[in-house]
């Protein structure tokens, strides 16, 4: 089930909210969330939901196992006991193993066959929905227990709630246990929560349905065609730029919906996107894009000494290799990760002081170019097509500057693309600033906001009638 679908909006969500707000005790509310989250997940994975539960059970015990016992705490040991270390290793093997098997086995075996000429049977395994997200979440929990940053959750149901909470289960943000640990036990949905949550959810829905889905039709007719050998220069650039906008609105829209839903139920997730296209260098881009993933790698990968070496560059290499790998079981994603890794290393070497001296315009052009071409790499899973595409970008493209298809697309989608570009800017923050001028302005902004929410909800719902297939980009993660 996807958030941006009529069945979620008008069948699942009303029922869930009805039960959640009818039942008064917090324990009951948590129960409602667990039931509906499992329902939500099993809708798409009726059998493999068991793996989710298995992961919850195993990590429940491991979380307790890697944490110091009361006796050990009293002893105040400087290093963890052997038992804890072993159980940590077990948890890493189990969790990474799960993702590895379900997501990467096909890729690995195919490549082994290709490189070594072996004829191993290629496993036909499709990853479970959301496995990359919830596995990372649960890993962060166990590691945090080991580092004693959090106390292990002794109630299985509360841990299960953390793992399977449907707002963030399928496509993030990757929520750390510490972020909502307290809220599991102690939260209230205030008026502010519900109001902000609703507005946030609708904003995300609009981003996904009104912007992202419509933008994708352009992508489909340019770089998304089966045969791109006829792509013109303008076609290639226009297509990949629109694609970059599409990815942002698709993913950040989904995160908005997740955060909004969480908020309605009284949870406060951290932001996952912060207007990434405002960035002035690539390092900044990745502090604004998919923040929960970046911070996960920063906190758990960066401190690892690579072959015993603690070095900025080796750490960066490791992080960016993993970022690429996480995004897909395909070579283009790995290239994509390392591509960004190179730019980050380059900027790190240059140093902040020198970067700050470069004129703003150059920095903006640089970032947008890097990001756009980056998304081109991200888009083409077939490396042959990727090569063709990259060549199409150059002035030496034999197909010429443009053709009727591109010009027609650009004309027919002119306002849509302009609106998308405008919406990349922090409009909400701008309006909040505006409302601080006076009470009247504040009221006007509030009322307009409500009117806008209602309008966007209706428009999105209507547009959803069209989507008989409505795949979300990060579906296979």
């Amino acid at each position: 089930m996807v958030f941006s679908s009529l069945i979620f909006l008008y069948a699942f969500l009303p029922l869930c909210m009805l039960f959640y707000f009818l039942i008064k005790p917090l324990k009951g509310k948590n129960g409602v969330l667990i039931v509906f989250s499992l329902l939500f997940y099993s809708w798409g994975e009726p059998v493999r939901v068991l793996y989710l539960l298995l992961s919850a059970v195993v990590n429940y015990f491991l979380g307790m196992g890697v944490s110091p016992t009361r006796v050990e705490l009293k002893k105040d040991l400087s290093t963890p006991t052997l038992r804890r270390k072993i159980l940590l290793a077990v948890s890493l093997v189990f969790n990474i193993g799960m993702i590895g098997v379900f997501k990467y086995s096909r890729f690995v075996v195919t490549n082994i066959n290709g490189i070594f000429g072996a004829e191993l049977p290629v496993p036909d395994i499709v990853p479970m929905i959301g496995i990359s997200f919830y596995t990372f979440q649960v890993m962060s929990y166990v590691i945090d227990c080991y580092w004693e940053k959090v106390k292990p959750q002794l109630s299985f149901y509360k841990l299960l709630l953390y793992i399977c909470l449907f707002p963030q289960l399928i496509a993030g943000p990757i929520v750390r246990y510490s972020t909502i640990a307290e809220e599991i036990d102690n939260r209230r949905s205030t008026v502010a929560d519900i109001s902000t949550g609703i507005s946030r959810f609708i904003m995300g829905l609009a981003k996904k349905v009104i912007l992202a889905n419509q933008l994708y039709r352009i992508v489909d007719s340019t770089i998304g065609k089966n045969d791109i050998s006829g792509l013109t220069i303008l076609g290639a650039w226009y297509g990949v730029i629109v694609y970059s906008l599409y990815v942002y609105f698709d993913f950040s829209g989904y995160s908005d919906m997740a955060i909004g839903l969480g908020r309605i139920f009284g949870f406060h997730f951290n932001e996952n996107f912060n207007h990434p296209y405002l960035c002035k260098d690539i390092t900044e881009f990745w502090q604004r894009w998919h923040i929960s993933l970046g911070s996960f790698f920063r906190d758990y990968l960066l401190p690892i000494p690579v072959f015993g070496i603690r070095n900025k560059y080796t750490s960066l290499f490791l992080v960016w290799l993993c970022t690429g790998i996480w995004h897909g079981a395909n070579w283009n994603y790995i290239i994509w990760g390392l591509y960004y890794g190179c730019f980050i290393m380059f900027e790190t070497a240059l140093g902040k002081k020198r970067i700050a001296k470069i004129p703003m315009l150059i920095r903006h052009i640089y970032t947008k170019l890097v990001i756009t071409i980056g998304f081109g790499i991200f888009f083409f899973e077939d490396l042959g097509n990727l090569g063709t595409f990259l060549k199409c970008l150059l002035p030496t493209n034999a197909n010429g500057w443009s053709d009727m298809t591109v010009e027609m697309l650009m004309a027919n989608n002119l306002f849509l693309v302009i609106a998308a570009v405008i919406c990349s800017f922090p409009l909400v923050d701008g309006f909040k600033k505006l409302s601080q001028k006076s009470e009247n302005v504040k009221s006007l902004v509030s009322v307009s906001g409500t009117v806008l929410s209602v309008g966007l909800l209706l428009l999105s719902s209507v547009l959803l009638v069209d989507a008989t297939t409505n795949v979300f980009l990060y579906w296979n993660y």
């Binding site: 580092w147 940053k149 960066l302 401190p303 070496i309 603690r310 070095n311 900025k312 750490s315 960066l316």
Partner: protein, 81 residues
């Protein structure tokens, strides 16, 4: 190793890593107090401290130390000259 000795040597390391001779370390200094100190530089810093004092931080410590004071304590305990 005494804390003050550690502090002195540590200050040199900090000044070197962050390229800033004006750095002064108190027990309560945190990353907030030093402009260039971000998660990447943190790795360089940890590496430099480990090299200077010929010791190793645990993973937990690398991401869990709360201020320079704590770092000094750990170094003081574990440094080998």
């Amino acid at each position: 190793m005494g804390r003050e000795v550690v502090r002195k040597r540590l200050t040199e390391v900090f000044r070197d890593v962050f390229d800033d001779d004006s750095i002064v370390l108190t027990d309560n200094t945190t990353a907030n107090d030093i402009e260039a100190w971000d998660s990447l530089e943190h790795i360089s810093l940890i590496s430099a401290v480990e090299k200077e004092f010929r010791m190793r931080f645990t993973m937990k410590e690398v991401s869990g130390m709360k201020n320079v004071g704590e770092m000094i304590s750990i170094v003081a305990e574990r440094a080998k000259k």
